[in-house]
C-alpha cells in the first residue's frame, strides 16, 4: 500500500449565500477554475500528468451540475488530458472527494489526484432541487422524513442542549473565528477571488459577525419552530421518538451553519507523485470512515465515524491533537464533545460553519485544510475532520503531519 500525502491546499473566502453576497455573480465553474489555477500556481500539478480531479458537490444540478470537476478544468484552460469526476454525499462531499482521491493513491491507482469542492448556495439553494429525500411520499414514510433543522432541534431535545447551551457555543465560534482572522491564521490558504477584469470581489470570509454575543444571539427567533409545529414535522419526529413530549426549538440562524458560497482544492499524491513535482508532503492521510444512522435524528454520527476511523489505527479519541467537527448546528458539536470526551479546547479552535459558513460541497476540503494549517501553527501531529451528513450519515478523516516521506 502507498501512503497518500497532502502536498498543498487552497480555499476561497466564503461569500454570503445571498443575492448580495460578494461571490454571487460568479458561476460555480468560475469558482472551481479559480481554485484549480491557484493550486496549480503553487504545485504545478497540471504539468505532472495527474490521474484525476475529484470534486465534491452537494447539489449537483443546473450550473453546478453535470460534471463540475471536468467542466472547471476545461473552463480553466487546463490540458484536455486531465479528467474529472464529482462525488456527492451532501455535507461531506468535499471530504469524500479527499477520501476518494486518497483511496486511489493508497491503492496504487493514481499518484497525483486533485480533490476539491464547490458550492454556491446563493445560486442553488440547499435541497432546493430535491430528490426522493423529501419529495417522494413513500420514501418519506419509510424514513420519517424531517428537514435537518428539525433533526437538529430533536437532537438538542434528546441530549438536553438548551438554548443557552447552543448560543454559548455559537458565541464562542464567532469569537474564535474573529481571533483567527485577526491573527492571520488562514493567510497561507486563502485565495482572493477576482472577477474577469481583475476586480477584487472577496478576500476574507464575509459571513462572520465578530460582534456576536450570547445576548445578541438570544434575540434571534427559532428558525425551525414554524415548520415543526405548523408544518407537521414535529409530530413526525415525535412519532419516531415517542419519548419526546415536545421538541425544544433551540436553533436559530445564529447557532446554525451559515449559508455561503465557497470552493477549495487540495493536491493529494503518493511519494512518487510528489517527487515528480519536487514537493515536500505536509501530511499523510491515515484513515477515513463513513457511518449511517437513523435518518430522522440524522446528525448525531460524527463521533461514530471518528471512532471507526480511529479504530482502524488502533487509536482513541485522546490520541488526536485537534478536531474539526463541522458546525452544521451547535448541538452537533456539543454532542460530539460529550460522546467523545474531547475538550472544547481541542475542537474547532478557529471557529467553523456557524461563524464562517458551510458551503456544503466545499466544506470537507476546507476543514482538512484548516486542520492542517492549525496543526502546523501549533506544532501538533494528528488531527481529525468530521461532518454529519443528511439522510443520517457521517464521515471522518484522520491526518498526521509528516516531515518528509516515511
Amino acid at each position: 500500500m502507498n501512503e497518500a500525502y497532502i502536498y498543498d491546499a487552497v480555499r476561497s473566502p466564503r461569500g454570503k449565500g445571498r443575492p448580495d453576497g460578494a461571490l454571487h455573480t460568479l458561476s460555480p465553474i468560475d469558482m472551481g477554475a479559480r481554485m484549480l489555477k491557484a493550486l496549480d500556481e503553487r504545485t504545478g500539478f497540471s504539468k505532472a500528468d495527474p490521474e484525476d480531479v475529484v470534486f465534491g458537490v452537494g447539489d449537483g444540478v443546473f450550473d453546478q451540475g453535470s460534471n463540475l470537476a471536468r467542466s472547471a478544468m476545461l473552463h480553466a484552460g487546463f490540458p484536455v488530458e486531465i479528467p474529472g469526476e464529482t462525488v456527492s454525499r451532501f455535507c461531506s462531499s468535499g471530504l469524500d472527494a479527499i477520501n476518494t482521491a486518497a483511496a486511489r493513491v493508497i491503492a496504487g491507482q493514481g499518484d497525483l489526484i486533485v480533490a476539491g469542492g464547490v458550492e454556491m448556495m446563493s445560486l442553488i439553494p440547499i435541497a432546493g432541487t430535491g430528490g426522493p429525500n423529501g419529495s417522494d411520499a413513500k420514501f418519506n414514510d419509510t424514513v420519517a422524513f424531517v428537514p435537518q433543522g428539525i433533526s437538529a432541534d430533536l437532537m438538542a431535545t434528546l441530549y438536553g442542549h438548551s438554548r443557552e447551551d447552543v448560543d454559548a457555543y455559537a458565541a464562542e465560534s464567532q469569537k474564535r473565528a474573529a481571533a483567527a482572522w485577526s491573527e492571520g491564521r488562514f493567510a497561507g490558504s486563502i485565495v482572493e477571488i477576482r472577477d474577469d477584469e481583475g476586480e477584487l470581489l472577496l478576500d476574507r470570509d464575509e459571513y462572520m459577525r465578530p460582534s456576536t454575543t450570547r445576548e445578541t444571539l438570544a434575540q434571534l427567533r427559532p428558525a425551525f419552530q414554524g415548520m415543526g409545529e405548523k408544518g407537521g414535522f414535529d409530530a413526525i419526529a415525535r412519532r419516531r421518538y415517542p419519548e419526546v413530549a415536545a421538541i425544544n426549538h433551540v436553533h436559530t440562524a445564529g447557532n446554525s451553519s451559515g449559508i455561503v458560497d465557497g470552493a477549495a482544492a487540495m493536491l493529494i499524491g503518493s511519494r512518487e507523485g510528489g517527487e515528480r513535482l519536487g514537493l515536500k508532503p505536509r501530511a499523510r492521510i491515515r484513515s477515513f470512515a463513513s457511518v449511517g444512522m437513523d435518518p430522522t435524528l440524522m446528525l448525531a454520527a460524527p463521533s461514530d465515524a471518528t471512532a471507526r476511523a480511529l479504530n482502524r489505527l488502533g487509536m482513541e479519541f485522546s490520541d488526536v491533537d485537534l478536531y474539526e467537527v463541522n458546525e452544521a448546528f451547535a448541538t452537533v458539536v456539543l454532542h460530539f464533545m460529550e460522546k467523545s470526551g474531547v475538550d472544547h479546547a481541542r475542537v474547532n479552535p478557529n471557529g467553523g460553519g456557524i461563524s464562517m459558513g458551510h458551503p456544503i460541497g466545499a466544506t470537507g476540503v476546507m476543514l482538512i485544510n484548516t486542520l492542517l494549517d492549525e496543526l502546523e501553527r501549533t506544532d501538533k501531529q494528528v488531527g481529525v475532520a468530521t461532518l454529519c451528513v443528511g439522510e443520517g450519515m457521517a464521515v471522518a478523516t484522520c491526518i498526521e503531519r509528516v516531515e518528509g516521506f516515511a
Binding site: 432541487t129 414514510d141 414535522f233 413530549a245
Partner: protein, 710 residues
C-alpha cells in the same frame, strides 16, 4: 346499461344507467360495457361526436364500493378498473369530440368519466357536486383523476382537492376549472351537441404534441415544496397504516413527471395497492357503511306526534341538546333551576348558534328561527304539553331523582323521559319513576351540536314505544345511533374507561405520557389517552373511574390502577389541562413534559416500551368490545365500530375495536393477549368467542389473511 342514440347531425348521445340505486355506480360490468360502446362509437363513421349523459337524476356517483370491498389483491382491483381506464383513454383519443353533459352530481369515478371528455358542461343545479371525494374514505381516484385533473388545473389545486376529498358546487367547480360551462338544464344536451359539432378536432391538452404545463410539473421548486409540505401536514396526523395520502402523492409526483400513459399505469398501481389493503377496506366499511348499520327505520307516525321537546338542565349538554333540537325544527322548552339560570342558558344557546354562524354553518335568519322555537324557564309547568323530555342535569342519582319527581307531576303519563347520563345505570335512574318503562338513556357527546354520535340505552323495562320515540328524536337531531343494553358504562364509556384505566396503569408503571400519546397518535388517534386525562380534568376523571369500579366493573379494569394514580396526581396539585398542570405542563409556549411525573411514578427496568404500550392500549379496547358482543350489549359489530370512531376518535382505517381484530388478525391479537395476561393478569384473558375466531380465521367482517395463507 348505456343507451346510445345517434342523431341526424351525427352526434351520438350515450346515456348511462348503472346500478340499482338512484345514482349511477360504476362496477366492472359497466366498465366492460363502456369499453365496448366506445369501440363501437369510434368505428361508426356516421358518428361525428359524442355527448356523454346520464339516464338517471345525477351524472354518476362513482365506483361501486361493494365491489371494491371484495377486493383482496391489487390485481383484483386493477381488473375492475382496467376496462374503465381503457375506455376513457379510447374515448378521448378516438378522434371525435366528446362532451360530458353533467345533469347533476359527478363524483369520484363519475367525475373521472367526465374528465375523459374534451369538455364538461353542467346543468345549472344548486344541489350538484363535482370532484374526487375518495380520500375521505381512505381511498384514491383510480380512473385517471390524479392524472387528468392536475394536467388541467395544475398540481397544487388538484392535489389539495384530491387529498382533502373536497367536492365543489357548480359555481366553485366553474371557477376552479372542473367544469367548463354551466347552462340551463333543459338546454344541456343541445349545448353539449353544439360544442361537439363546433369542435371537430378536439384534443386533450395532454395529447397535444410538446404539452407542458409548469403548474403540473412536479419538479419545479414550488411544486416539490408543495409535495413535501402536503405530505408532512397530512402524514403527521394520519395513522401509520392510513396510507391514502402517500399513494395519492406518489401517483401525482411520479405520474406527472412522465407521459400521460405512464402516469395512468402508475395511478393504477397505486390505487390497486391501496384498494387491496385491509386498512382501506376497514375505513370504507366503517365510514361509509357504518353510519347506516343498526339505524332504526324511520317511523313517520311517531315523528308526526313529537313536536315539543323538553330539556331539563341548562349546562353544556342541555344547551347543546336544546340548540340541536330547535335547529331540527322541534319546539324546545329548557328548564333550569332558577329564572336567572334559565336566562343564562338562553344566552349560551345563542352563543352556540353564533359560533356555528362564524363557521358558515348557520345564517343569521336561521339562528333567529332557532331562537324563535326555543324558550327557557324554571317553571316545570311549561312542560305540561311536552311530547318527550331529555334530562341533562348533574350526574348524581339523588339530583336526577328529584327532577324526575317534578317531571312526573307535570308530564302526561305516556311521555318518555330520557336521561343524558354517561355513567349512571338507567335501571337505577328508572326507580325515580312510578312507571320505569317510560325511562330510557340518551347519551350525547360534547359538543352536542357537532358530535354525530348518540348512544341510546334501554333497560329490560324500557317500553318499545319509549325506544321508538328515542329513535325518532335521535333521527330528527341527525345523529348516528348506537342502541345498547343498560350496564356499567353502556358501550362507549365502558370502552373509554378501559382505555383510560390501562393508560393510568401504564403511567403508574413509569411510562411517560409522551410515549403513550405519541404511540396512539402513530396508530391514528387524533388525541392520545394521556392527553385525554388532562382534557377530562383529573378530579372529574376520578369520579368517573370510581363510578366505573365496584359491582359490574368491566373485566378490562381488573387489576388496573386508576383512582390511586389520580389521587397521587391530585395530591401533587395536578388537575389537568385547564389548570395548566396535569400529566403535562401547559406553558405559554405550549405543552411540555412535566418532570414531576418521573418522580411520582419512577421508571424501572420493567417499565413497558412503546410496543407493549401499543398492544396494551389497543387490545384492552378490542377485548372489552368482544365481551360486549358476548354479553349482547349491542347487535351489530359495525355499529359499535362506527360509534368508537365517532365517540372517541378511534382510527377509522383500523375499523374500530372489532375491525382492529380483523386487520391485525385474530390469531395475532390472541397471541399478544395471552402474553399480556401473563404479565398484567386476567384483564387480558381472551374470551372464548375470540379464541375460536383465532382458530377458524374468521374475523368479525372477513377471513383474516394470515389464516387464509396458512
Amino acid at each position: 346499461m348505456i343507451f346510445v342514440e345517434t342523431r341526424q347531425d351525427g352526434i351520438a348521445v350515450a346515456k348511462i344507467k348503472s346500478g340499482d340505486g338512484p345514482h349511477n355506480t360504476l362496477d366492472k360490468a359497466f366498465n366492460e360495457r363502456l369499453l365496448a360502446v366506445v369501440k363501437e362509437l369510434a368505428a361508426d363513421e356516421d358518428v361525428k361526436g359524442v355527448v356523454l349523459a346520464s339516464a338517471k337524476d345525477t351524472f354518476a356517483a362513482g365506483g361501486d364500493l361493494d365491489q371494491l370491498l371484495s377486493v383482496r389483491a391489487p390485481a383484483e382491483a386493477a381488473a375492475i378498473i382496467a376496462p374503465f381506464t381503457a375506455a376513457t383513454r379510447a374515448l378521448e383519443t378516438m378522434g371525435k369530440p366528446v362532451v360530458a353533459a353533467l345533469n347533476g352530481s359527478a363524483l369520484g369515478g363519475g367525475y373521472e368519466l367526465a374528465l375523459a371528455a374534451h369538455r364538461r358542461i353542467a346543468a345549472d343545479r344548486r344541489d350538484a357536486r363535482f370532484g374526487l371525494p375518495e380520500a375521505g374514505l381512505g381511498l384514491m381516484p383510480g380512473a385517471g383523476g390524479t392524472q387528468r385533473l392536475p394536467r388541467m388545473i395544475g398540481l397544487q389545486p388538484a392535489g389539495e382537492m384530491i387529498l382533502a376529498g373536497k367536492v365543489l358546487d357548480p359555481k366553485e367547480a366553474l371557477a376552479a376549472g372542473l367544469v367548463d360551462a354551466i347552462v340551463p338544464g333543459e338546454a344541456l344536451i343541445e349545448e353539449a351537441a353544439a360544442w361537439a359539432l363546433g369542435n371537430p378536432g378536439a384534443q386533450q391538452p395532454w395529447d397535444v404534441k410538446r404539452f407542458y404545463l409548469a403548474e403540473a410539473d412536479p419538479n419545479t421548486v414550488a411544486n416539490r415544496a408543495w409535495v413535501l409540505g402536503a405530505w408532512a401536514r397530512q402524514r403527521s396526523r394520519s395513522g401509520r397504516d392510513d396510507k391514502a395520502v402517500t399513494h395519492i402523492l406518489s401517483a401525482l409526483h411520479h405520474g406527472l413527471e412522465r407521459s400521460f400513459d405512464a402516469g395512468m399505469a402508475i395511478e393504477t398501481r397505486e390505487f390497486s395497492k391501496l384498494a387491496a389493503s385491509p386498512f382501506a377496506r376497514a375505513k370504507v366499511r366503517t365510514l361509509f357503511y357504518g353510519p347506516k348499520a343498526g339505524q332504526p327505520k324511520k317511523d313517520d307516525t311517531i315523528a308526526a306526534k313529537l313536536k315539543h321537546l323538553g330539556v331539563v338542565g341548562g349546562g353544556t349538554m342541555g344547551n347543546g341538546i336544546a340548540f340541536s333540537a330547535a335547529r331540527a325544527g322541534l319546539r324546545v322548552t329548557l328548564i333550569d333551576v332558577s329564572a336567572q339560570k334559565a336566562m343564562e342558558a338562553q344566552d349560551r344557546i345563542k352563543a352556540i348558534g353564533e359560533r356555528q354562524g362564524k363557521r358558515g354553518r348557520l345564517s343569521e335568519d336561521g339562528l333567529q328561527d332557532i331562537l324563535g322555537r326555543l324558550s327557557t324557564t324554571h317553571d316545570y309547568a311549561s312542560l305540561s304539553d311536552a311530547d318527550f323530555v331529555i334530562e341533562a342535569v348533574f350526574e348524581r342519582l339523588d339530583v336526577k331523582h328529584d327532577v324526575y319527581g317534578k317531571l312526573e307531576a307535570v308530564l302526561g303519563p305516556d311521555v318518555t323521559v330520557a336521561s343524558n347520563t354517561s355513567s349512571i345505570l338507567i335501571s337505577e335512574l328508572a326507580k325515580g319513576f312510578k312507571d320505569p318503562s317510560r325511562m330510557i338513556g340518551m347519551h350525547f357527546f360534547a359538543p352536542v351540536e357537532v358530535m354525530k354520535l348518540l348512544e341510546i340505552i334501554r333497560t329490560p323495562e324500557t317500553s318499545e314505544r319509549a325506544l321508538a320515540e328515542a329513535h325518532v328524536v335521535a333521527a330528527a337531531l341527525r345523529k348516528t345511533q348506537i342502541t345498547v343494553k343498560d350496564g356499567k358504562g353502556f358501550y362507549t364509556s365502558r370502552l373509554v374507561s378501559s382505555l383510560t384505566a390501562e393508560t393510568l396503569t401504564l403511567l403508574s408503571e413509569g411510562v411517560s405520557p409522551a410515549v403513550i400519546d405519541n404511540t396512539m397518535i402513530d396508530m391514528g388517534f387524533a388525541v392520545g389517552s394521556a392527553m385525554l386525562v388532562d382534557l377530562t380534568k383529573i378530579p372529574l376523571l376520578r369520579d368517573i373511574m370510581e363510578s366505573m369500579t365496584g359491582p359490574g366493573m368491566p373485566r378490562s379494569m381488573e387489576g388496573t390502577k386508576t383512582t390511586e394514580v389520580l389521587d397521587k396526581l391530585l395530591a401533587a396539585g395536578r388537575e389537568g389541562r385547564d389548570a395548566t398542570r396535569g400529566v403535562y405542563d401547559y406553558t405559554p409556549e405550549g405543552q411540555k413534559a412535566w418532570p414531576g411525573m418521573a418522580e411520582l411514578f419512577p421508571p424501572t427496568e420493567k417499565t413497558p416500551g412503546p410496543d407493549e404500550v401499543r398492544t396494551r392500549l389497543m387490545n384492552t379496547q378490542s377485548l372489552e368490545a368482544v365481551r360486549c358482543i358476548d354479553e349482547g350489549v349491542f347487535d351489530t359489530p359495525l355499529g359499535a365500530d362506527i360509534a368508537s370512531v365517532l365517540g372517541w376518535g378511534y382510527p377509522a382505517h383500523l375499523g374500530g375495536p372489532l375491525g382492529y381484530i380483523d386487520v391485525h388478525g385474530p390469531a395475532a391479537i390472541v397471541a399478544e393477549c395471552d402474553e399480556l395476561a401473563k404479565r398484567c393478569g386476567e384483564r387480558f384473558d381472551v374470551p372464548e368467542s375470540l379464541r375460536s375466531k383465532a382458530q377458524s380465521g374468521e374475523g368479525y367482517y372477513e377471513t383474516s389473511q394470515q389464516e387464509k395463507a396458512a
